[in-house]
Symmetry: C2
Subunit: 233 residues, 2 copies
């Protein structure tokens, strides 16, 4: 076989992708094992392994420990998003972070909130509304409910200097979370806080974090117009 040699895992990845796209290896097909590919490509087996792992992560290949590696029947690209504390996100863009607490209250939440958080309908939760700023301009408005039966220390926190976004990351354990991204029209109240026209299109992140079966906190973040969440595939 008159195969070129492959010096690095990226060139192996390119060749494997080429074969997938040329249908030399059609969707669902079992591909040769790593040892055989290493011989064919004239490279280390670890180089083949690195290339196949990368292609599996981006959804082109399905790898099963015993059944071998197959071309994905329906390729799904996978993107990884970093969900950082907002202060870090602002500072990473080279801006100065600011924070303002708008309101802090203990209240029975609306039914959709207690439903989502799986708290009892009559349970009081801690509600915080706050503004995050970048270089003194509104960056995002936060509306948060904290389950103080799970995070009792939060009841004593004023959240007037340190945001709940940051405090919870350091103090409240969670095992997993649900996130949804969407676009919403600014209502009158949010428009005033953000200093924008009502009905502006806002990028929304809704997140509920859980400590096993009990909810820790539910937050909606509405970002000022122009916000983009970026990632790579």
């Amino acid at each position: 076989m008159n195969s070129p040699t492959f010096r690095n895992w990226q060139s192996v990845q390119d060749e494997v992708l080429r074969r997938i796209h040329a249908r030399e290896w059609p969707p669902g097909a079992l591909i040769p094992n790593e040892a055989d590919l290493a011989i064919e490509f004239g490279c280390a087996r670890s180089t083949v392994n690195r290339a196949l792992r990368s292609l599996a992560e981006s959804g082109w290949l399905d790898r099963k420990r015993k059944a071998g590696t197959r071309v994905a029947a329906q390729p799904v690209a996978k993107a990884t998003l970093d969900i950082a504390v907002i202060r870090h996100e602002v500072e990473e863009h080279g801006a100065t972070y600011g924070y303002q607490l708008i309101s802090r209250s203990v209240a029975v939440p609306p039914a959709p909130v207690s439903g989502t958080m799986k708290t009892r309908a009559q349970d009081k939760l801690l509600n915080l509304r706050a503004l995050h700023l970048a270089d003194d301009a509104a960056y995002a408005v936060e509306d948060r409910w904290i389950n103080t039966s799970v995070v009792p220390d939060a009841a004593a926190e004023p959240f007037d200097v340190l945001s709940a976004n940051e405090w919870l990351m350091q103090h409240a354990p969670y095992t997993h979370g649900d996130i949804a991204f969407s676009a919403v029209q600014a209502d009158q109240q949010d428009a005033e806080v953000l200093g924008i026209a009502p009905h502006s299109a806002l990028f929304a992140i809704d997140r509920v974090t859980w400590d096993n079966a009990v909810s820790v906190t539910k937050v909606r973040l509405l970002f000022a117009p122009g916000y983009k969440l970026r990632t790579q595939i």
Copy 2:
């Protein structure tokens, strides 16, 4: 030490998270190695490894092969998004997928498009506008540019039955891509295609895919109001 035994990796993960949150293991601290933790927890080393890998994936720990495992200085939660072909996304929700080509033309793109795609200003590209439907209702409108010097086969494709979204996934190799999520106000044209009020807030996905240094395609997908992109952390 009067430690309980840990039967599964989830219970080890819970205990490690508890120590991180209780500041027994503060941000930046080196934690004990896997072998010592396995002895302390009374479980297999592989169980500890599974728990620490999971915590590294979700951003609580930094693992370095030689330097050991440290508590992350700035915890960043990581979420994985599946970027599926739209037809599969619609069908996964149990709906019937539909597709309509709105326009197909070969044209010199606006400067921001050729700039993003790094094509020469005078290069003609293939432009497609199309509507994706779920149960006969508008689901997303697609505005796409294809670099036909990289994907010459696309020039012969009518895209009247099979969407470019799907065709490219099967025929056009790419090595990586840039994705941005944002919220935009519907313009008159998009509002008409989607059958909604002008200035409605729409969830936008902008994606450029690359074959190494050359762009393959650039697409903007605008989703009908109510769309949510969901994931877990």
